[in-house]
Each structure stands twice: as C-alpha cells, then as structure tokens.
C-alpha cells in the first residue's frame, strides 16, 4: 500500500528571485532575465549570455569551504525549502529525513580550477583537496550535515531531468515508508564545458532562447537551484503543517536513441507522461497545466508538441503548456526542480506562468503556450515534464493538496 506524499515546502534560488513570492511575480509578468553574464566568462569566447543568481549575503557566507558553487546553490535552496516547511533544525521527525539532489554538471567548476592551474602545476602539483571537492555526493551530504539530517543521501545524475528524477526517488522513499521526510531537488552552476560544448554543437542560442517561437535557435543557460520538502501526508498533518500540494506520482522512460539527440517523435516523453498519469491515478482530462521542458531547440520543442497531442488528442490545444526557461534560461539539473516549485505556486495562486519571448509560434508548434504574460485560471492538476541529454525523461504529477 503506497503512502500519500505532499509537498510541505519549497525553495528556489534563481535569477528571478531567491524568495517564492518575488520569484512568482516575476514569472507571471513574463520578465526575461537572460542577459550578459557578469560573474562568469570563458576565455576565448564572446561575453556570455545567460542568467545568474545573486545570492544574499547570508547564503554567500554559508558556502562551505569544501563545497563549490553548485553546492552553495543547493544549500541556499534547501535552507529556504525547510524554512517554508516550518522545519527548523531539531524539529520532531526531521532528524530521520534524507536528501536527494539532482545535477547535470555537479561540481564541474572544481575541475575547471584544477585545469586552470594545470599548465603550471602538472600532475605533481595537483591540489590534494581535489579528491573530495570533485565528489558530487557532497551536494547531498552538505545539505544533510548543515541541517542535521541522518537519512539517505543521494545524488542523482540524469542530465537535464535530474531535478525531476530527484523528486521521483524521494517519492519512492516516502511513499514506500523508507522515510517520512525527504529534501529533494536540483542544482547546477554555469560551467565552461556546457557553454563551449553547446556552442560547438550549434545548440546554443545566438541571442536569447525563444521556446516554441519561430525564432527558436537554441538554448540559453542559467544557474540556480530548486528544492522541495516532501512528506508523508499523515506525518505532515500530525505536526500541523500545511501541505502546499500533493506529489501524486511520476513516470519515467529512456529514449536509448542517441547519446545527445532526443527521439524526434517524443515517444519517450509520451511514455513517461502515460506512466505518470497511470501510476498517479490521473486521467488526461484532469490535467489543467503542463510545465514544458521547452528548451528552445527545434528538436525538443517540436517533439514535446507532438507528445502533447499524443496524450491529449483533440484537447491538446486547450491544455496550457509553458516554458519558464524562456525567463530563467536552462538551469540544467535545477530546471525541472524549479519548474516543480512553479507548479506548486500555480496551485497556490490559481494561475499559470507564461512562455516569454514568444511573439510568433514556430510553424510546428501550434498549442497554447501561454505567450508573454501569465494567466489566472483554475488549476488542480499539473504535469511537470523534463527530458535529459542522453535520453532520460521524467514526468512528475503535482495536484492540489488533499
């Protein structure tokens, strides 16, 4: 017998804000935060475009000497999520909680620092701290250590579906009774390999990303983190916590198509959506809003549009689907976790966020992408889609709190 799981708290650190309400207002207004980067550059490249997080002073101070930028973002979002869930350190039931952090790139910047020193250091001069600082497990253990959590600590790497995957594994642990509370989400920092790699593959936008738009020409990157505290329903009720939403289930699939390119027909996305609906006891008719993966690449956006039609049939044009990556850029492993927070806020505010930078839809994209401005509407059930480089798709179902 599966136990029911609720979302008890959320936290984000994004270019659009590091607190939930300003973050939500900025999204609803359709504000695009993609622009010239001030704190991150790559030698040999033009000034880069993307989004950066300005962490408040107290978060910057939190940076553990042994953790890099990615861990710092994860720690900042986790702190906010636990506070939002009303769980201070030492709160009853919190000690047994675990952590799952998803990441695409992890502490890759540690490798960058190693390599910057490389021509001079050579193999004999390698920083002894590199062994532990390049260990991505720290993204979870630093969160656990900071908050005194002694449950399982997992780091899940499934490229850009990592945040959703972390939510799914947390759901497995809570719904099966292995844990009562899990701190789950995703974090990623900007790295030079992702910029240079996408540039060389021709998948980096030349301006800013335009998901589903005629001008779509590739991805804009960003950094950030999104973390949710998920909890068994009765456990949350007993401590008088207010559930923000129900985490009703998830679906997964793997394209096994190509190491980088997704299946062009979106079949993997369809399979993940079908499994998510079936295992959460949700019908396609109940779905009010779909948070798209929506990266702004033709491959993704057209395949995702096809997947919507396969699931919703005639109704596809009546189901709003939007990509907040149009405002935040693609925050890699953080993206789907931040989008899960946006779904939770959509339920709270009874409104859905827009796709910014969408003036004229791409000829193969003919759905309701909520262009430019958010929209007030009744929302009871959301699907949160994500697809990873390498082909792993995760769809999470988030419903109104029971």
């Amino acid at each position: 017998m599966r136990r029911r799981v609720v979302i008890a708290g959320c936290g984000v650190v994004t270019a659009a804000g590091t607190e939930l309400e300003p973050f939500w207002r900025a999204l609803m207004a359709g504000t695009c935060f993609i622009g010239p980067l001030r704190n991150f550059s790559v030698a040999g490249m033009e000034p880069l475009t993307g989004t950066e997080v300005e962490l408040p002073e107290e978060d910057a101070r939190q940076e553990d000497a042994r953790g890099g930028r990615c861990a710092q973002l994860a720690l900042a979002a986790a702190r906010r999520a636990l506070a939002d869930a009303g769980l201070a350190r030492g709160a009853p039931g919190l000690e047994g909680a675990g952590v799952v952090i998803g990441t695409t790139l992890g502490e890759e910047r540690q490798v960058g620092e190693l390599d910057d020193l490389w021509p001079a250091s050579g193999v004999d001069g390698i920083d002894p701290g590199f062994f532990s600082r390049s260990d991505n497990h720290r993204l979870a253990t630093l969160v656990a250590r900071t908050h005194g959590l002694s449950g399982p600590t997992l780091v899940s790497a499934t490229a850009c579906s990592s945040g959703n995957a972390a939510i799914a594994w947390g759901y497995e642990l809570v719904s099966s009774g292995a844990a009562d509370i899990m701190v789950v989400g995703g974090a990623d920092a900007l790295t030079r390999s992702i910029y240079t790699g996408f540039l060389r593959m021709g998948a980096l936008s030349k301006s800013i990303c335009h998901p589903f738009d005629r001008r779509l020409d590739g991805v804009s990157f960003g950094e950030g983190a999104g973390v949710l505290v998920i909890e068994e329903l009765e456990h949350a009720r007993r401590r008088g916590a207010s559930a923000r939403a129900e985490l009703a289930g998830y679906g997964v699939s793997n394209d096994a198509h190509h190491i980088t390119a997704p299946d062009p027909n979106g079949e993997g996305t369809v399979a993940a959506m079908r499994q998510a609906l079936a295992t959460s006891g949700t019908t396609a008719e109940e779905v009010d809003y779909v948070s798209a993966h929506g990266t702004g690449t033709p491959y993704n956006d057209v395949a995702e549009t096809k997947a919507m039609k396969a699931i919703f049939g005639e109704r596809a044009r009546q189901v709003p689907i939007s990509s907040i990556k149009s405002m935040l850029g693609h925050t890699n492993g953080a993206a789907s976790a931040i989008e899960a927070v946006a779904c939770t806020l959509a339920l709270r505010h009874q409104a859905v966020p827009p796709t910014a930078n969408l003036a004229e839809p791409h000829p193969d994209c003919d759905l309701d992408y909520v262009p430019m401005k958010g929209r007030a509407m009744p929302v009871a059930t959301c699907l949160n889609l994500s697809a990873g480089f390498g082909g792993f798709n995760v769809c999470v179902v988030i419903k109104r709190a029971p």
Binding site: R2, V42, A43, G44, G98, T103, T104, E108, V111, G112, D115, W118, V123, D124, I126, D127, P128, G129, F130, F131, S132, S134, D135, N136, H137, T141, A144, R145, L149, S150, P152, T153, L154, V155, S156, A157, T158, A159, S162, E172, S176, A178, S193, I194, T196, G197, L199, R200, S253, N254, D255, A256, H257, I259, T260, G268, A271, F389, G390, F392
Partner: protein, 402 residues
Amino acid sequence: MSAGVGSAPVAITGTAVLTPLGDSPDALSESLRAGRTAVAPTAELGGAAAAAIADFEATRYANVRGLRLYNRPTRLGICAAKLALAESGIESAGLPKEHVGVVLASTFGHLETLIEYDRSLVTAGLQRTNPALMPLSIPSAPGAAIALSFAAKAFSVTLSDGGASSFDALGLAARLVGGGRARACVVVGSFSACPDLLRAAWRAGLLAPASEYRVFDRRRAGVALGEGAAAVVLERLEDARARGADPRAVVAGQASTFAVDAGCLEPALRRAVERAIRGAGLVPGDVGLVSAGASGSPAGDAAEARAIAGVLGDGAAETPVMAIKANLGDVFDAAGLVQGIAALSAMRSGRAPGITGLEEPEVPGLGYLRREAAIQARHALATSISYEGACSALVLSRPDDR
C-alpha cells in the same frame, strides 16, 4: 515473509564482476579464498597502495557501438552489464526493451573525459577541442552509454553517492523493479581512478603505503584505491521463476543513513543495519555472513566493526565476517555490488575467504575470518561507511528462503 525492499520480492538473476582478481564471480571467489591480493605499491606515488586490472580489453567481453569513444570506467561498466545480462538469460527471454532499466553507481566515471575536454580548452583553445567529448563529460554520461548499449528504455539513472553508490543503486533499482517500473533492471557499479584523482587522493594522505595496507587492523594506515566493475540483473522473483530462471538471491533489505558528524558513524551504520534486517523481515540472529566494507580507513573500520558487533549482540563472535577490500582495495562506486556478489558466492559454495593481512583487530568480538573457512548462511549482510559519512546496509537472502 517480508516483501523486502520493493513492493514485491526482487531477485538477482545475473551477476558479473571485472576485477584484478578475476572476471567472473567464481574466479574472484577462488582468488579471494586463496588469499591472493591485487593491492600493490605504485612507484610514481611513492609506493602507495593501489590495485588495477592489468590487461582489460573491453572487446573481449562486449562489442557494442561507440565503445572506442568511451573512457575506461564506462567500458568496464558496459562489459559488466553485458556479462550479467548474459548470465541472467533475460536477453533471450524476449523482453521488450521498454521493460528494461539501468541504474549505474558512478561518482567519478565521467571525470577523466571531463578533464580531457576541459584541459584541452585551457591548453589548446576552443576551436581545437573535440566537441564529441563534451556530451561524454557529464556525470550521467557513463550510465547513458550503458543504457544506449543495451537499448534499455524503461529508465537510465546514475547515482553518485561515493562509496555508498552501489548500495543505494541496488536499493533504488529494487524499489523500481518491485514497483513495476521495469521488468528487469541491470544495476552496475564501476570505478577506475584517472591519474589526477589517484594523485589527489595520494596527496591528500588517503592512501596507505602498500606494505602497511590492512583492514580492520589496529595498525591500518589508510586505504588503497582499486579498480573494477560489477553488475547484477534484478527481476521480480515471481517473474524470474515464471521464466524458469535460476535466482541467485533475493534483495531482502537495504537501508542507508548519514552520519552528520564523524562522532556518529557507529550509530548511523547501526541504524542502517537494523533497518535493513527489519525490512527483510529478519532478526539479527538470522544473519549468517557479514561482507564488510572495511577499507583501512582509520575512523571507518572501527566504527563499522562496532556497529556490526552492536547489532549482532551475543551472536557477533560466531558470525563470520569477510572483508574483500583487503584484497581488492576500495572499488568505491562498485564496492557494494562486489561485496554482495562475493557474499553470494560464499553462501552458495559454503566457503568464505579470510581477511588477508588481518593480525590484530582494532575492535575485538567479531567473527573475523582469518583464513578460508566453511560457512553456513542463508542471509548475508553487506555494510559500508563512505569517506563522506554515508552508511549503508544490504541484506541478500538465498532464494529458497523467500
């Protein structure tokens, strides 16, 4: 009888290891019983302890597309997966690929490729880097390559939990298979330290001088990094029996915890062990064999011994304890799987290997095997404490007891 980790009992139907002491579970257990060791001094690291596979040729085991592009830990993982799938007979069972999943335990499997790519950016410049390397440089890449090699379409997940990785991977995979997310799942652990990582570990003082390398011993002086891969194929016990497969074992219990500071390693592991045994529907007295993770770590080995002794209580001295890192070094992401597979071989053959080099145990009262011995066990416990403080426990049972 308990349901075990998943919501239905999950069996191991195929096993594989690639180690310096043998490329099959039988060959490895023969080497272990003979007391052979792969740990040797590394000349360029001042005689520090390490173990490596001398003559690994991937094409001897697997012939899959793209093999030559993949780095050594990825190839090791692909080959282990191939061998385990072959042993399980699942490939000839005609299972649609939509029902096959992959979970890879890999924290550092991408690192060599990332360093190669990133270092070429620094030393040769953007235009001279090989763009094909970038997609293979992210933490999820080795797992994506394994899933692509076998067209596994149910899911493809990488867990990067350091020394706890393959315990957590086995636990997650058992939950996913038990819950019906796949009919079969190959769980792989793979580890091969690239030169930078090995050198950083040495400079950080982690590695013992080879001449002083021993585990559980009062005079232990640090760890030895090993090399290897292991894989198991999981199916529901019911499905395995229905297709006439020979289940090797049942994944009866798995639990992981985190020690928030170094002072609580022992209680954290104790909690994990108690939970895994309880989850298996057993009592401590049912454990007939312990396959310990002792790695020569000053803090970890003592805490592990005390935790095992604490849980086993009066039966501690009579319960045989094996510790294969004494012979293989720490195969890190693969360690839990190798420990489990070695324990299965011992249970099946009724002969368990001694702990090579153990003279004076730091913690008395455990049934440390000093030499090869006859055992009778129906349930084996594998344990581990990672350098980060993640504590893991796994219970494997003989299938006729389930």
